[in-house]
């Protein structure tokens, strides 16, 4: 399954602000479908954000993150033209990675 991501990174003052929109069902494992069967939990557990291969932020997420998660974070020391990469791994071991250039 493909999980595309949309992301944007901008320099604002002395920090780089990154906004990411991921595509993921984020099923909690608590909801039943129409047939009354539990929809198994399926959610992102770990997100790694890098700037030019240097890790700037790691996130551990639970089931309470909304469907199609949004993440906004800031880091220092970035400049225009740097490459920001965001990747995640979910509880089924599926992963997705996306990158963008700081503008």
């Amino acid at each position: 399954m493909a999980f595309p991501m949309r992301m944007r990174a901008n320099v604002e003052g002395d920090v780089v602000v990154v906004r990411v929109l991921m595509t993921h069902p984020e099923d909690t494992g608590l909801i039943k479908d129409k047939a009354g069967k539990i929809i198994p939990a399926h959610f992102i557990q770990s997100v790694t954000c890098k700037n030019n291969d240097k890790t700037v932020l790691t996130c551990d997420w639970g089931t309470a993150i909304s469907k199609n998660p949004f993440l906004e974070f800031r880091f220092k020391g970035g400049k225009s033209g740097d490459k920001v990469t965001v990747s995640w791994i979910d509880n089924k071991g599926e992963t997705s990675t996306a990158d963008t250039t700081v503008s």
Binding site: V15, E26, T28, G29, L30, I31, K32, D33, I38, P40, A41, Q45, S46, N51, K54, T55, V56, L57, T58, C59, D60, W61, G62, T63, A64, I65, S66, K67, P69, F70, L71, E72, F73, R74, F75, K76, G77, I89, D90, N91, K92, G93
Partner: protein
């Protein structure tokens, strides 16, 4: 009313656990790959802020250095924008804790030396609840809270 709801939620959670166990029995390989490296499962299963704080390893202290950005009223509990910001020096991690969710911890954000302790995301809320923005500084958990009213819960089927 609340009691009944709670019981229903617990039954649901139990059934989910059974479902997971059944899946694990059938497909052990997937079960082994289940949790991402470093993912702290007990922390995410904590049922109260106090429990979560114990596992996370810190004493909760209310502080004005930490701020939470969120709406007063969320129409849809499935998508509640929440931001966490810390002005305390030496913040190593930020967290979002939703008091009345089945599991209280929504997310953890681990800082590095270059990250700015200011993040935002969107979370699910089962019902109107206090939401805690938590910043880990040394062995202290600095927090500030805000009640967000939810008109439509985010955990309903």
């Amino acid at each position: 009313m609340n009691q009944t709801r709670r019981q229903v939620m617990q039954i649901g959670a139990g059934a989910a656990a059974l479902g997971v166990a059944a899946t694990a029995g059938l497909m052990p390989n997937i079960a082994l790959a289940a949790d991402a490296p470093g993912w702290n499962a007990p922390l995410f299963e904590a049922k109260s802020f106090a429990d979560a704080a114990k596992i996370w390893g810190g004493t909760p202290t209310e502080s004005a250095d930490v701020s939470i950005i969120g709406p007063d009223i969320a129409e849809n509990g499935a998508v509640v924008p929440v931001g966490v910001k810390s002005n305390a020096a030496g913040t190593t991690a930020l967290g979002i804790v939703i008091e009345k969710n089945p599991t209280v911890l929504a997310g953890l954000f681990n800082m590095t030396d270059v990250s700015v302790p200011n993040v935002a995301t969107r979370v699910k809320m089962a019902q109107t609840s206090n939401v805690y923005a938590v910043a880990k500084v040394g062995d202290k958990l600095l927090f500030s809270k805000k009640e967000i009213k939810v008109t439509l819960g985010g955990c309903g089927g």
